[in-house]
Structures are given as structure tokens and as C-alpha cells.
């Protein structure tokens, strides 16, 4: 069948600058560039280009520019280029359209409609370069009250505290499974987490034995497919996270195609080489809050109650009620992943249409747990499109204890958000299991870039906190008086629990 799909991008090469070094040919994993010996010229197959910028960055003479194809269908706000292309693609294949990364639609970002406060005259701001600023965060249930006793002149804590996770900054690396990302990415995340004093999350694909030594800085995930879930795995992590859902694809399962299940992936997931790794949509031992309670406690039993067990859900319409159930079921921390949450592969229709913005989910969950008097019984971690320190400060002021970053961490390593992770051919060596392409991520350099990012954002968070006259992240948490909205309706302001700017 002749394909009616037109190239999305056009590769332009300045022939004056091109020295025929063939770097672009070697760097492109989509076979876009080729050498034409007859004319001694490098040419490109535009239809293969995904706009990943790998060749642009690596071309020694900066000869390449990638342009969006300006040949468009007749302008139509309803029948957009994206819609028409999707229909053509499906008419040719009969399949579900896959995509990678998070929802890319313009609506749904509330962070940009929330502004932060700063101290002026009446209460002084704090200079973070001069004063100590506390970002250290403890994740896990806090007691209703503390009982202290005086013993021989010393104050002794009588209350038994629940296991806590301690992170030096309220930024954790989000669940990205080995298989969705390459080993070097996992290694870099683990090293960066260990170096900075935070945590990475294995995602649902198990943990390679070579990373067990970073266990104190790793949250191990248990998902419906139970891939790689063994006693050793559960015991090695600092915490366990039960994955119910993820923001990019709420309500549906995961699916690592057989061709990505290489020898190493097979070892970690504990399934045979080349078989599909299908994660069912639900955990088949969880059909209710009571069942969730049962799995949480099965995991606590299996690991002797020495580490927190959390639960991750996608942010959906009734998140607040579900979250209340999760806390009552014994979740030591809960993770809310918003509509912008990323993925290695998801049906595009689900990614772009299912779930709710994390800002609204967070505000309503925090509010609900406060109203029920159980907010202290859990910690809230939010994720789904956190782009920078301002998003983090706003999230914490809205009620989060910490955030997970996934996409941002990958961008630090090299990702350009081409959204083609599902092909397994990530030219940046990130979303691939191909041993040759994976080598493009140098774990030392990647870890350094990640640590730099954590450091930069942590400094910015301190600056913003200082400006508000706050010297400890504890005092920022749930401190919605530091937030104001612009361009929001009364209902939106009410759900966010913040005032309009000027009020």
C-alpha cells in the first residue's frame, strides 16, 4: 500500500560546511543520512527523521539544520495536521498509535498560572548564601504525637517511629524501568542518587545485580507483572513502591515487546529472552482497598517491617478518595502521577486524554487527607512533567513532600523529547536496550550531569524559600498562603486552595 504520510521534518545540510565525515550517518539510528559516492555528497531521507538532534549536535561543522516540514494541509483548527496524519497512519496499519514521553498538549499546565510570594519590609527575607537552609526531607508516616521522657537528665523519645526515607533534597528520580531505559541510564541514576543523597526508582523491570550496591538509594517497584520481584530484590531496596498506575497511561497495563527482552533484560526481569513482558492492567491480587492493604502488608511481612512501602497511582477524577483509602491501607508514602507523566511507550490516545493535571490532584488529595486528619500518616510524592525548581516549590507549597523527576532527568542526560522512545532506537542511548546504542550514555558523565541538575535546582529552591522568609522545607509544605493564581476561574482557585493574585 502506498503510504500517504508525509515527512514531518526536513533535514537541511549546508553543503559548503559539510566535510563528508559521515558522523551523521553513524549517529542516526533511523538510517536517515547516506553517502552518495557518485556525487560525493551526503543526502538525507527526510521521512526517517524524528528530530532527535543527535546529528545536529555531533556534526563537527554544524552543517545540519532540522526544520519542521512547512508543507501543511490546508489550515484547519479542528482537523489539524496531527489529526489527519494519525488517521492516515491508522488507515494504513489498523493499529493503535504509540508514542513516548508525556502528554504534549498545550492545556493542563497549572504551574504557569501559579505565582510565588516573597517577603518585603514586614518580614525579612533570608539570604541562603549566609544562613543555613534546610532541604532535608523525611518520607514516611509521622506519629500523631511524640512522647518524651526524662531519663537521668536526658530527654528520651518514647514513641516508636515508622521507618523513614531521608533525602537531602525533595527531588527523587522517577520510576523508569531497565528495559525502557538502558543499563547505563539506570547506573547513572543510581550513582547520582547515591552521590547527592536522594533516591532512584527501579520502575517495574527489576534491578540488575550490579546495582544492588546502591540499594540504600533505590526504591524498588512492584507492578502487576511482578517482573524481577524476588526476595533479594525486595530486601535490597530502601523502600518498596507498589505501582498501580502511571500518569501516561492510567488504567492500562504495560508492554515491553519481546525484541527488547535481551539476555540482560531477561536476567533482570526473570523471564525468558525474547518473550513479551506483559503487565496486566490491574494487579490481579488487588481489586479493592482491602486487597491493597493485603499486598502492602505482604511486602512488609516479607521485609520485616524495616522499610517504607508506598503506592503509586495515576492522578484521576477521584484521586482524593482513593488516596484516603491508600493511606488507610497502610501506604507509608503515596505517589501521584499527573496527566503529563511520561512513559517509554503508551497509546497516544490514552496519554493525551486520560488522567488529570497533577496540580489539581495534589491539592485535592492533600486537602482531603488534612480534613480526615490522616495527612501525617503518609508522605506525598508527585510527578508528571516537573520541569524545574519553580514547579517543585509550588508543588511543595500545594502539599507535596517531594517530587519525582523522570523526563527532566533524561533531558539532563541528553534526551531531546523526540517522543519516539517506543521504537527502542533512541539515538541518545537512553530509551534502548541495544547494546551498541546504549554505549552512547557514559555513566560517569551522565551521573555528573544529573548531580549538577540536582544541585542547581536545590540552590534555586533555597533562593525561592529565602525570598519567602522560609529557611526549612518543612515550613513550605502545604503553605498555600505563599501561592497566588492568575488567569484561573473561581472553581480552579477553590480546588487549588489558593487566592487570586492581588487578593
Amino acid at each position: 500500500m502506498k503510504s500517504y504520510i508525509e515527512p514531518e521534518f526536513i533535514v537541511e545540510r549546508d553543503d559548503q560546511k559539510c566535510i563528508r565525515c559521515k558522523v551523521c550517518i553513524n549517529q542516526c539510528t533511523y538510517d536517515t543520512h547516506y553517502y552518495d559516492p557518485e556525487d560525493d555528497v551526503i543526502r538525507s531521507r527526510d521521512e526517517n527523521c524524528v528530530n532527535c538532534h543527535r546529528c545536529v549536535v555531533f556534526c563537527p561543522t554544524k552543517a545540519i539544520t532540522i526544520k519542521r516540514n512547512t508543507t501543511r494541509y490546508t489550515e484547519n483548527w479542528h482537523w489539524t495536521q496531527e489529526v489527519i496524519t494519525a488517521i492516515k497512519k491508522q488507515a494504513e496499519s489498523g493499529g493503535v498509535i504509540l508514542t513516548g514521553m508525556g502528554c504534549d498538549k498545550p492545556h493542563y499546565t497549572y504551574w504557569d498560572k501559579i505565582l510565588l510570594n516573597a517577603s518585603q519590609v514586614t518580614n525579612p527575607s533570608i539570604d541562603p548564601l549566609r544562613e543555613p537552609m534546610e532541604l532535608r526531607t523525611f518520607l514516611g508516616p509521622k506519629p500523631d504525637k511524640l512522647e518524651l521522657e526524662l531519663e537521668n537528665g536526658d530527654v528520651v523519645l518514647k514513641t516508636k517511629l515508622s521507618p523513614q526515607l531521608c533525602v537531602e533534597t525533595p527531588i527523587l528520580f522517577a520510576a523508569m524501568s531497565y528495559g525502557a531505559v538502558s543499563f547505563n541510564v539506570h547506573l547513572a541514576l543510581a550513582r547520582a542518587a547515591a552521590q547527592f543523597g536522594t533516591l532512584m526508582n527501579t520502575g517495574e523491570g527489576g534491578l540488575d545485580k550490579r546495582l544492588y550496591k546502591y540499594g540504600d538509594h533505590i526504591i524498588v517497584q512492584v507492578a502487576s507483572g511482578r517482573f524481577g520481584v524476588s526476595l533479594d530484590y525486595l530486601n535490597v531496596g530502601a523502600a518498596i513502591e507498589i505501582k498501580i498506575g502511571q500518569g501516561a497511561k492510567p488504567g492500562i497495563g504495560g508492554h515491553l515487546p519481546g525484541e527488547k527482552v535481551t539476555v540482560e533484560i531477561s536476567r533482570t526481569r526473570m523471564i525468558p529472552v525474547g518473550t513479551d513482558a506483559l503487565s496486566p492492567a490491574p494487579h490481579h491480587d488487588i481489586y479493592s482497598i482491602e486487597d491493597l492493604h493485603q499486598l502492602i502488608y505482604a511486602l512488609k511481612e516479607a521485609t520485616d517491617y524495616i522499610k517504607p512501602v508506598g503506592v503509586k497511582i495515576a492522578a484521576v477524577h477521584n484521586s482524593a478518595a482513593i488516596a484516603s483509602g491508600m493511606v488507610r491501607a497502610g501506604a507509608d508514602f503515596i505517589v501521584l502521577d499527573g496527566v503529563r507523566g511520561s512513559t517509554g511507550a503508551a497509546p497516544k490516545v490514552i496519554r493525551d486524554n486520560v488522567g488529570i493535571p497533577i496540580e489539581l490532584a495534589l491539592a485535592s488529595v492533600d486537602q482531603r487527607l488534612r480534613e480526615e486528619g490522616i495527612r501525617n500518616k503518609t508522605s506525598i510524592i508527585v510527578s508528571g512533567g516537573i520541569r524545574g525548581s519553580a514547579d517543585i516549590v509550588k508543588a511543595i507549597a500545594l502539599g507535596a513532600d517531594a517530587v519525582y523527576i523522570g523526563t527532566a532527568a533524561l533531558v539532563a542526560i541528553g534526551c531531546t523529547l523526540c517522543q519516539k522512545c517506543y521504537t527502542g532506537k533512541c539515538p541518545w542511548g537512553i530509551a534502548t536496550t541495544d547494546p551498541w546504542i546504549s554505549k552512547r550514555v557514559n555513566p560517569d558523565i551522565a551521573a555528573r550531569r544529573l548531580v549538577n541538575l540536582l544541585q542547581a535546582w536545590s540552590l534555586e529552591i533555597k533562593e525561592m524559600m529565602g525570598g519567602m522568609g522560609i529557611n526549612s522545607i518543612e515550613s513550605l509544605r502545604g503553605n498555600r498562603s505563599q501561592l497566588r493564581g492568575v488567569g484561573l476561574t473561581d472553581t480552579e482557585l477553590k480546588i487549588l486552595g489558593i487566592k487570586m493574585a492581588g487578593e
Binding site: E92, I97, G225, S230, L231, L234, T275, A298, E301
Partner: protein, 257 residues
């Protein structure tokens, strides 16, 4: 900090310990089992009454004999022990179990062997819904799950490996098993089924058993019969059918790239 609570010395004789579980909270019971799982060969537990998680997360070679009815998630994430249940079991027997053996002298509830990756489970009588769901295998770990009686819907759903056997011994006069959606989404492993099935998922096909199957099936049936004192000849191998997936990639063509 690993838990540790010694058993009372007078409860141990010849390497076999005895626990009276009457009125005991599961946490205390399991704590006691776990703390002693490497110091005695066997523990007999009496008056088991719904305590959950017995054997959960237990890594040892101990033998447990349970008298009564253990609660849900018996032997979850278990790695090595052998558990005999002298009574019925409830839901989630062998959930994500890695290795070991569970023998139930009675019936079991739902999701027996969910996601189990190794070891063996023998249930003498019936079991509930979603039995053997997402069973898998890896390397030389090939889980074996045998149900002596009949089962409910979704048997072997999403099954990715291992061997699941249903003997139908509790069905009268060659009655047809009523389970629906047997093997839905199955993409690995084998289900051996004795008698008639009323409904199977579209991802599986039913075939006759062959020579290779006999070699696999015979020792499993023998082991089952040994445990429950049954005569092997009452379960002739020729009465079995085999369910296998059409493809190891049932959803390979679902997507447009």
C-alpha cells in the same frame, strides 16, 4: 535489624518444633516462624485460624505443617520452604513465589500461584478464580501448579510460563468445567486439562497431548498422587488435553509505528 525470637526450648523435640497458634496475631506467629526458620528442621503449627502471610518472604529449607485454615497470601514471595496445609487454604497461595512447595489437603481460594516463578503447589480439591494467573518461568525455574478438583474463570490468564495441571477429580460424571476465559492473554507455559472445557480465551489453542507431554505430566501426577494417597491409574494420561498459546507475542500486531 533482623527479627529474632527464640522458640521455647520445651516445644522442640528432635529438630521439630510445635507452635500453638490459637489467638495469635499473624505478625507474632510469622515473626516466630521466621526467627526460627534456620534453626529447626520442621515446625508443626496447630490451631491455625486465618493468620495471613504464613511463609511469606521466608527463605530457608524448613518444613511447616499447618493444622487449621491459614489466611491469605500463604507462601507469598516464598523462597525454599515446604508447607503442608492440613485443611483448606484461602486466597493468594504462593503469590509471586520463587521456590519451595505448598501442599494443601483441602481446597484453595482465588489467585493460587499468581505470578509464581518457581516451586510447586498441589491443591487436593477445588480452587477459585484466576488460578495460575501470570505464572512465569525463568532459566531452570519452572513452576508447577496442580489443582486436583476444578477451577473458576480466568485460569492461566496472561500465563507466561510454567506448567498448570487441572485434574477435575471433584467433577461428577465427566461434567464440563464451567470456567470461562481460560488462558486469555496466555503467551507461554502449558496448561494440561483433564476433561472438557466450556470456554477458552482466543489466544490459546487446545491440542492433544503428545509423547513429550507424557514424560512431563507423568511425574507430576505421580507426585500429586503420592501426597494425597491416590492411585495413579485412576487418572489416565489419555484423558488430558493441552492448552498452549498461539503465539508468544499475542499483542505484537496491536500497534502502529
Amino acid at each position: 535489624m533482623k527479627p529474632s525470637k527464640r522458640l521455647e526450648q520445651d516445644s522442640i523435640r528432635d529438630d521439630v518444633a510445635i507452635i500453638n497458634a490459637e489467638g495469635m496475631h499473624y505478625r507474632d506467629l510469622n515473626f516466630l516462624i521466621k526467627s526460627n526458620s534456620n534453626s529447626v528442621r520442621r515446625i508443626d503449627i496447630y490451631n491455625v485460624d486465618g493468620q495471613r502471610y504464613i511463609g511469606t518472604g521466608l527463605k530457608s529449607n524448613i518444613e511447616l505443617h499447618l493444622y487449621g485454615t491459614p489466611g491469605n497470601d500463604l507462601a507469598a514471595f516464598m523462597d525454599g520452604p515446604t508447607i503442608y496445609v492440613h485443611g483448606d487454604a484461602q486466597d493468594g497461595v504462593g503469590n509471586t513465589m520463587n521456590n519451595g512447595k505448598v501442599v494443601v489437603y483441602g481446597r484453595a481460594g482465588d489467585i493460587v500461584g499468581y505470578s509464581m516463578r518457581g516451586g510447586k503447589i498441589f491443591i487436593r480439591d477445588d480452587a477459585g478464580y484466576r488460578v495460575g494467573i501470570h505464572m512465569k518461568e525463568y532459566g531452570n525455574q519452572k513452576p508447577i501448579l496442580v489443582i486436583g478438583g476444578t477451577v473458576q474463570d480466568f485460569l492461566g490468564e496472561y500465563m507466561a510460563g510454567g506448567i498448570l495441571v487441572v485434574l477435575g477429580l471433584t467433577l461428577k460424571d465427566r461434567e464440563t468445567c464451567k470456567a470461562k476465559f481460560v488462558g486469555t492473554g496466555m503467551h507461554g507455559g502449558i496448561i494440561y486439562f483433564r476433561g472438557q472445557l466450556s470456554h477458552t480465551g482466543k489466544e490459546v489453542k487446545v491440542t492433544e497431548i503428545e509423547k513429550d507431554d507424557v514424560a512431563v505430566l507423568r511425574p507430576i501426577i505421580e507426585e500429586f498422587c503420592n501426597h494425597f494417597n491416590l492411585d495413579v491409574d485412576t487418572i489416565p494420561l489419555k484423558e488430558f488435553k493441552k492448552l498452549i498459546p498461539h503465539s508468544t507475542r499475542p499483542y505484537g500486531k496491536l500497534y502502529a509505528y
